[in-house]
Symmetry: C2
Subunit: 285 residues, 2 copies
């Protein structure tokens, strides 16, 4: 999905929000804002939004002098999510349709996003409480379940720290034998890296591979050769989060998407209200 005019105010918004969250001083915040403005004034409109996000967050890490500025927040979101996990697992186990309930908690976890300006509360607790409240396309879930059953291998592209804990029941249902979990190659915002997956108990249960990239999404041009090989070999890819949708939506076939829509541009693109649960199956093309 290419850049939309509405992405521009959103990048500026994200830059200022990051400066606030990271308590950067005013001089650094201004420098950062000027960098973002300069970047945006030389924009390639054919790129997806997460590639611009990558540049903004590289500048944030450079100017803040912190290689992982959201680390504390990632750790605390992971801890909160881990405390909630037994209740999520119980809800899934007791559900009439466990795969559906696992999908719902996985998408609800996608609210734990420090980049988006949603009005959706970005905490693990809020994600847990609201997980079962949204309307969802149950037929799409059944088709996804069938696609998972038929696939010999599934590459599951995780999104954010904290969120990845809420993915665990779904990963269990896909099956430890066939799923590989892909994470970001380096810290960017609160996106889950290998370390975050480890803190979430994911690495001891599943095979986890880094994508070699610091793009907050999955931009294959930017990923390691090893990751791209896995991506191409997987019978099915399940991509979590809006940024993975933005960076992979034009990829032909085999990619399913699970996410919460977080902005007008993506919501309009899909014809749904902002804050919707999206379950998009692989395109047959």
């Amino acid at each position: 999905m290419k850049l939309h005019l509405e992405c521009i105010p959103c990048f500026i918004r994200q830059t200022l929000d990051s400066a606030k969250i990271l308590e950067l001083d005013d001089e650094i915040a201004r420098t950062l804002l000027l960098r973002t403005l300069g970047l945006l004034s030389r924009l390639d409109w054919d790129l997806p939004a997460p590639v611009i996000g990558r540049e903004i967050h590289r500048a944030i890490r450079e100017l803040s002098g912190d290689p992982d500025p959201y680390l504390r927040r990632k750790i605390s979101d992971t801890e909160t999510a881990l405390q909630l996990l037994p209740r999520v697992e119980q809800a899934v186990a007791e559900s009439e349709y466990p795969f559906l309930t696992a999908v719902l908690y996985s998408i609800a976890g996608n609210a734990i996003d420090l980049a988006a300006k949603t009005g959706v509360e970005a905490s693990a607790g809020a994600a847990f409480r609201s997980a079962l409240d949204k309307p969802v396309d149950e037929a799409a879930v059944r088709r996804l379940e069938r696609a998972v059953g038929e696939a010999g291998s599934v590459l599951f592209l995780a999104d954010n720290a904290g969120e990845i804990v809420f993915d665990r029941p779904l990963l269990d249902r896909i099956g430890r034998d066939k799923v590989i979990v892909g994470v970001r190659g380096a810290p960017v915002i609160n996106d889950a890296t290998f370390d975050d997956a480890r803190r979430s108990g994911i690495t001891e249960r599943f095979r986890v591979i880094s994508n070699g990239s610091d793009t907050p999404g999955t931009w294959l041009n930017d990923c390691s050769r090893e990751f791209v090989d896995q991506f191409e070999r997987a019978a099915l890819v399940i991509a979590k989060g809006q940024a993975n949708y933005e960076s992979l939506s034009d990829h032909p076939g085999r990619v399913a998407f699970l996410f919460l829509t977080k902005c007008a541009a993506v919501s309009e693109h899909l014809g749904v209200p902002t804050g919707s649960y999206v379950i998009r199956e692989p395109r047959s093309s």
Copy 2:
């Protein structure tokens, strides 16, 4: 008042909103947005926001090929306000404190602003209905009335088309003999020009002078010599609207401000909630 970090996303927002209101095609909207981004990336942070607004709206007029793109909207707001005027005048005449009621309608009219992103409905009808609902500093109104009484001459800086109609009862109470109404020198957004004052029945009742500038505010560096002379000679200046506050707040003495706060930057600066009625008397310094 100097630029605030929060002005930056607001300029981008205004650029996109203008492109939408004026139904510019996507290619022009992108060019316009790139111009705004370029402008912002070379910012002089000591300028007040309306000077940047001037540049953005010059680009809008140039790229749209329309020297007065908000003309239709200005005419329709003026007509609506003129239809409401007899009821405003009646409310003022029947009020226990006519000067106060005239001030309230004048400030309420300040909601008719196509630049601001407020959540305040920007129509003349909404301005009329909500005029008397807001808390107001009555002691400040009494002091302003006294300052008006003591001043031999008053320069009243009008703000927007439509709004200027709601100023008429207050202008009447200041007095036709002592007030001069200042308007913008050329079209910019929906700011009132001489033509808009004429359409509002202001020119036939009051002496009206153009400030010679297309800044959406009053930036004296940009005003005609004749206007600056009037400004300096006036015993009291009453400036309507937030943009006049932003561009004149650092001016020493003799300037009173009447406006509705429309953004977090100005509201924080004044320590009031956004959407407040502000009555600021001349500084004694």
